[in-house]
């Protein structure tokens, strides 16, 4: 049963600390998305990659957020320094094909910045 995995599932940190979230897409999927979900804003696209190359990161605050795919089995999202307003659930999703194909979401990382 192929699934997208995300670690950690929960993270509590203090303002100013670095946070790294990891995602393992489904094997063979060539497109990976990072989303942030909050009650106020809903599900927002932060960035996405195709064949490990960044295609769009316009939804991501550039000064503190960075997203990478060191290899086809790992995507990372880093926040440095973290701020309380970054508290949210961060989802990774992967797709075999284009953005209009089925996105398979991971279980999310719930981030709380104190």
């Amino acid at each position: 049963d192929a699934r997208v995995t995300q670690t950690p599932r929960h993270k509590v940190t203090e303002m100013g600390q670095e946070v790294t979230m990891r995602c393992q897409p489904i094997l063979g999927h060539n497109t990976v998305f990072w989303y942030r979900q909050t009650m106020m804003q809903g599900l927002e696209l932060l960035a996405y990659f195709r064949n490990r190359a960044p295609l769009d990161d316009s939804g991501m605050p550039k000064d503190r957020f960075s997203a990478e795919m060191p290899d086809a089995t790992l995507a990372t999202l880093k926040i440095q320094p973290s701020e309380p307003r970054d508290s949210a659930v961060y989802f990774c999703a992967s797709v075999f094909g284009g953005v209009t194909d089925t996105q398979y979401f991971g279980p999310g990382t719930r981030l709380t910045v104190l």
């Binding site: 295609l55 769009d56 989802f91 209009t100 979401f105």
Partner: protein
Amino acid sequence: TQLLEQSPQFLSIQEGENLTVYCNSSSVFSSLQWYRQEPGEGPVLLVTVVTGGEVKKLKRLTFQFGDARKDSSLHITAAQPGDTGLYLCAGAVISSYDKVIFGPGTSLSVIP
């Protein structure tokens, strides 16, 4: 800026009732998807509609794509507690390169 609106925002009904939720935009979509999200989990795809006027059925769920491909509806017949969750629509916008936009969602609670 392309926006998707969903209504109602919250819906609480008794088991066995019917309901319809809506997804609207001023933008034209090349396709539209509906996802359901349960607490503590990521969204799961229910259906993709592509053609204007298309109707798809998934057991007790009926999805319709508007003729102009700017709106969609989801109708649930005889709702069950297992239908409880957040229903999200997501549109692929023709004028944007390869981008899918999610609506804010309709939170459905079906009371036994």
